[in-house]
Symmetry: C2
Subunit: 335 residues, 2 copies
């Protein structure tokens, strides 16, 4: 019987499930809705629904499979404790949910691991993606916010409390944009789907009278990263400046990350990564401008050549079901 791991990705609107083999193929998948914040659904009831969906999924595989473990990616998940803690976008925002313990009741003999979605993406990159064989790398997840997973010596960095890797909450601009975390100037208020929109409106507020732009037709609620990217592809100068400013800020943050842990590569994962060169080019330029020379490749004569092109890469899990793969990789990584 083929061995599989159940990967579960819990998002704000739905939870995706998939049975994943050791090579990273998703044999079957399904999803259930995540209860909305105001639903009053208890964490125990949600876990019951998830486990029932998992039982059904096992019977949908074409050939019989042997389930060897469950990996879960979820917001505010704590790997060390197996909990989801105070997750703002889930109905249990004031609770510490003992998620692994609740699931273990349904699968008493299985390895069950949970971590946040950005960490799961990093593990997925290492097991199935562009970081295969790398010991030191960083994965940046660009979604509504900015998440990060940091791998040092082949292991994810969890820190003393399981909460390491909050690069999205680097304070980049003291007294800058207001962040959902209650502070100001966090990286994710500039570099994320939301940050990109905010930057679009900042640039428009400055150039509104002097420049034509496709962006003028969209409200804040309507505008999306794809909308801005499409405009930029058509040469819209305001949309292009939005990506330049976003890359400038991301490159500065990445230069500081490189100074900290000197990774072999940094991977961009998530919706905004689909902007490709629109984001990569200004980010690499900013890294080149801001990185300590030590961290750039050297030519043979001892002269420094700054070369962040090989350092900043797009994730190989983009456009796949990367979040489910990453969750499953949590178990495959250490069987």
């Amino acid at each position: 019987m083929e061995k599989v791991v159940l990967g579960i990705d819990i998002g704000a609107t739905s939870a995706k499930l998939g049975l994943v083999d050791s090579a990273g193929n998703i044999l079957v998948e399904s999803s259930i809705p995540t209860p909305v914040n105001t639903s009053g659904v208890s964490a125990a009831d949600f876990v019951k629904s998830l486990c029932e969906a998992a039982f059904v999924l096992q019977h949908q595989a074409q050939a019989p499979v042997e389930l060897i473990g469950i990996g879960v990616g979820a917001p505010n998940a704590n790997y060390n404790k197996g909990t989801i803690e105070f997750a703002a976008n889930l109905p249990w925002q004031h609770e510490i949910v003992p998620f692994v313990e609740l699931m273990q009741a349904y699968f008493p003999d299985l390895t069950i691991r949970i971590t946040n979605d950005a960490n799961a993406a990093a593990i997925g990159e290492m097991v199935y993606g562009g970081a295969k064989g790398m010991k030191d790398f960083v994965s940046i997840t660009l979604g509504t916010g900015l998440g990060s997973g940091i791998v040092v010596g082949g292991e994810l960095v969890y820190g003393c409390d399981g909460f390491a890797g909050e690069v999205g909450h680097f304070i980049m601009v003291p007294n800058g944009r207001r962040c959902g975390c209650g502070r100001q100037g966090c990286l994710e208020t500039y570099v994320s789907a939301t940050g990109l929109k905010q930057t679009a409106f900042e640039v428009m507020s400055r150039r509104y009278f002097t420049d034509k732009s496709l962006l003028k037709a969209a409200s804040f609620n309507e505008i999306t990263p794809k909308y801005i990217a499409d405009a930029a592809q058509q040469g819209d100068s305001i949309a292009l400046e939005v990506f330049e400013k976003t890359g400038e800020m991301l490159g500065l943050a990445l230069a500081n990350i490189v100074a900290f842990s000197s990774p072999e590569a940094i991977f961009l994962y998530g919706g905004l990564a689909n902007a490709g060169d629109l984001l990569l080019t200004p980010t690499r330029k900013s890294m080149r401008d801001n990185m300590l020379k030590n961290f750039c490749k050297r030519t043979d004569d001892g002269q420094f050549v700054q070369e962040p092109n090989a350092l900043l890469l797009l994730s190989k899990l983009n456009n796949k079901n990367g979040s489910v793969l990453g969750a499953a990789a949590l178990v495959w990584h250490k069987k």
Copy 2:
């Protein structure tokens, strides 16, 4: 026979040597001058002098000792390769010196390890100091510049190339103060012995006409961190603002470090750490203001209480020969 490790700390003016036992006692110590930049002394000749001093030292111990290894702390040292690379303050600034290989010729059977002085301080803290038993912590060395050693999962973070831990070169202020590395706004231009002096003159340039200050009597060449600290202890308002601003910047950088690797503690080591509460108090305040709530301790009712007091500590190696201890700890840490 008692087992000892030879710890060597190579500084810009002298190299200190000490025989260190497993408990962190320095049995005997000595030093030789580091050749000045313009001396033309080759790296091979300097290593020969060091090894001769080491042979002499072994005979100065009160009882016979068994030398089991050599640990070296040096600027721009690369642990992975055993080299000192392009060290600006040593006569071999354009060379990659194969330091371990050169020493190994004199001590063919011994384990010899080299790392930069800030990494050595971190290992020393873990083996002999306040980080005993900790798996995740950061050590900040405040000297002429700002060095750092980052420990994750009980191991020093070297990164893919041996150069991780360059927190002193976090860019904190785009287009800020000029740094020796050729860039602008690096943390160490604000937080270090040199940075403190620069801040003193910045504050004076703003408040010169309105405030009395002891600092007005000293030239830039004369002024020292101790001079500024002594003035602050006497209530000198300009000197106090210098420490406040320094702590503010350090606290912001440390808040970002906490978001990255979530350490159990951060230790301040080196001359500037002797300023004690003058530096600790504003730094802790800034951490409190800038840290993500997750990383502060929680009370039982799930409310957050920000408590960086337990997170930011003074090194227990200050006022000891910490750099020699740290170098020796490189070997004792992994026998």
